[in-house]
Symmetry: C2
Subunit: 279 residues, 2 copies
């Protein structure tokens, strides 16, 4: 497995693949890899001649310095996992390599970044769009793979690709869950044992909401019942629970053709998100 910390040798490597008419699949990550990431690597390997994974904790997408400092970093273990998986190359650049100049550029995606994650994490999606643009221009993949867990992020990247006319196909891969339903996330590693058990409540809330909607309950009622449930468990703070159209993220009153439920909550000091497509 080739490991690149600098852009130039990575580009030379990729250029050789392209000259051989091979397709390049790309899995951008922030490391602390778990089976959700591995499912993206496997999807890319199935579709492409070569698979490149990037591991980079992008400071520009953290609106909270403590969250950035505490974000799990397990590079040696990540590289070993990718090696075992047969990943062809890993790009793990330094901040200096990714941000050679101080950054002043901000992106605004209108309603796509004002609600849900955008409301609670101001500037987050601008930082995501910036680093994804950088990575797309460096790697120039044929296909890029993202997890459905970060669904709003996927919609932002979809919009970035369509507006900037990147010639990159995007794939949104299903959420991989623990046996109790908790969506796999690098941040789960930061949960205490007790909070790890409580964290399954997010998925339970999504199932409860789906069930309630099928019985014509209103989102307001569902939300208040979920908050009661979280309070009775204790130590879980709901940020949002929304029913939106999965094509444009606009809020819905009732389940439609392409609806999705999205949730964010603090479990102890760890902020978790999850979602459920209703199709």
């Amino acid at each position: 497995m080739h490991i690149f910390q600098e852009i130039r040798p990575l580009k030379a490597f990729l250029e050789q693949i392209r000259k051989g008419s091979g397709t390049i699949g790309f899995v951008p990550t922030m490391g602390a890899l778990h089976p959700g990431h591995i499912s993206l690597i496997q999807a890319s390997q199935k579709d492409n001649h070569k698979t490149i994974c990037s591991i980079y904790v992008n400071p520009a997408q953290f609106n909270n310095a403590a969250d950035l400092a505490k974000y799990p970093r397990t590079l040696e273990r990540d590289l070993e996992l990718l090696r075992q998986q047969g990943c062809d190359a890993v790009f793990c650049p330094s901040n200096a390599e990714m941000y050679a100049t101080d950054s002043i550029l901000k992106f605004d995606f209108g309603y796509l970044n004002t609600e849900m994650e955008g409301r609670y994490r101001p500037g987050h999606f601008s930082g995501v769009a910036l680093v994804v643009s950088k990575l797309f221009n460096i790697v120039q993949p044929d296909v890029a793979y993202f997890g459905q867990k970060d669904f709003q992020q996927f919609k932002i990247i979809e919009r970035l690709v369509s507006e900037l006319k990147f010639e990159i196909a995007l794939k949104c891969m299903p959420i991989v869950r623990e046996s109790d339903g908790l969506a796999m996330s690098s941040r789960n590693a930061r949960l205490s044992k007790e909070n790890r058990t409580k964290a399954a409540q997010l998925y339970q809330a999504l199932l409860f909401a789906k069930e309630g909607l099928s019985k014509n309950k209103s989102m307001a009622d569902i939300r208040s019942q979920v908050e009661s449930q979280f309070n009775s468990v204790g130590g879980i703070q709901l940020e949002y629970l929304e029913l939106v159209d999965s094509t444009n993220l606009l809020p819905l009153e009732n389940v439609g053709d392409k609806s999705i439920l999205l949730i964010a909550a603090y479990v102890g000091e760890v902020r978790l998100i999850d979602n459920l497509l209703l199709t």
Copy 2:
């Protein structure tokens, strides 16, 4: 000369050039070509195997609907000029081709887009960055050529390329002037005969400012003298006259290593800009 109105056949054409290891020079324009544009085509032809020119009046960079409506459009004449010049290909897409989806994405370059043109044309540079990003991803040139007349635009594009890590070299080519010093611009075609004569006052003001600065006059004094001169000629309305650092566009009190004077004024109903590097 190949003429493309659609992205797909243009990309296929460019792919063949790249496979032959030829370099691609790119000159993005809004048409109504004049000798300033032709100098960019010539510079590209000197440096590259193939030269592509785009002609597209980008609605997203017009903050003023009347300015967009009145912008000169001379496509047949432009194509003839490019043919005579030996340009290899022209890309002249429709709005539908460039904006397949409605656009919600905005760019913000901080202080680079809050002053001068940014102050008088809100949203202008966001539209420029959007269309240039699209064109760069479509054409993927080795080198792109821009005129120094739009100096602030060049700084924005320089920043876009460095922050998004486009692998494109940028060249800023000198202003081409009429015999009386007026900077060549597509908008000059909209000047009445009388205003065409008055328009030379912009360049005169830049020379006057340069002279004044060399005699330690303040920019405030120079600005007020230029305004008096414009008033005495009549029909010229100064928007700004600024001395800034050409590397970061921050205002200067005195001429330094890399200073530039920039001016914008209405001559009748036509808004003109010009600048002068002081080195």
